[in-house]
């Protein structure tokens, strides 16, 4: 998330809204947002519905795994990254530039 914040101006230049999503509580997310100085929204999926809809919910661990999806203006997925690759925003940024 820090890496996304560092690149937030680049995303804005490509007319892209970054949304951070986790299953953590509203309060934990707020603290985290302050800690990293995030200027983009951090959304709480505490009901685990969205992580399930996106197929990244680890039922055993009770958390959503790390993943990045780029969605274009028509609501169509244009880029998917999962796991460690999803930490680096470069792939997501490049996909936004190509849109």
């Amino acid at each position: 998330m820090k890496a996304y914040q560092a690149d937030i101006a680049k995303f804005e230049q490509t007319n892209t809204q970054v949304l951070g999503i986790s299953v953590d509580s509203f309060a934990a997310n707020r603290r985290f947002k302050e800690d990293i100085g995030a200027t983009f929204p951090l959304l709480s999926d505490f009901k685990r519905k969205t992580v399930r809809d996106y197929g990244i919910y680890d039922e055993e661990g009770g958390y959503g795994t790390r993943a990045t999806f780029t969605v274009d203006k028509e609501g169509v997925i244009r880029h998917v990254e999962q796991g460690k690759d999803a930490i680096d925003p470069t792939g997501a940024y490049q996909s936004c530039r190509a849109l």
């Binding site: 959304l43 680890d58 203006k73 028509e74 244009r78 999962q82 925003p89």
Partner: protein, 98 residues
């Protein structure tokens, strides 16, 4: 005397052999101990494939959602339709390095 002179090297040889065997066993035990973390790594590596893999792919419609941000505002994915591209960055706070 002759019998004694043959028995001494034989005994020495046997005790040397016993010592070597003992050391081998000990180092074997040590290496088994040292292997424990490696074994644990193997287990965690074995668990990785069981991590959920999204079935969503490029070209699919992104499932809509309505979630609350840290200010209590509802944010809907479909609100951005026709206006902005959206990057959904799913993260795990407990495991995050940032």
């Amino acid at each position: 005397m002759k019998r004694f002179s043959t028995a001494v090297p034989l005994l020495l040889g046997l005790s040397l052999c016993a010592l070597t065997c003992q050391r081998a066993t000990r180092s074997g035990g040590d290496s088994a101990g040292a292997n424990t973390p490696a074994g644990a790594q193997t287990n965690s590596a074995a668990q990785q494939p069981s991590a959920p893999q999204t079935q969503l792919k490029v070209g699919d419609r992104a499932p809509d959602f309505e979630l609350t941000d840290t200010e209590g505002q509802k944010v809907k994915l479909s609100d951005f339709r026709g206006k902005k591209n959206v990057v959904l960055a799913f993260y795990v706070l407990a495991f995050t390095g940032g």
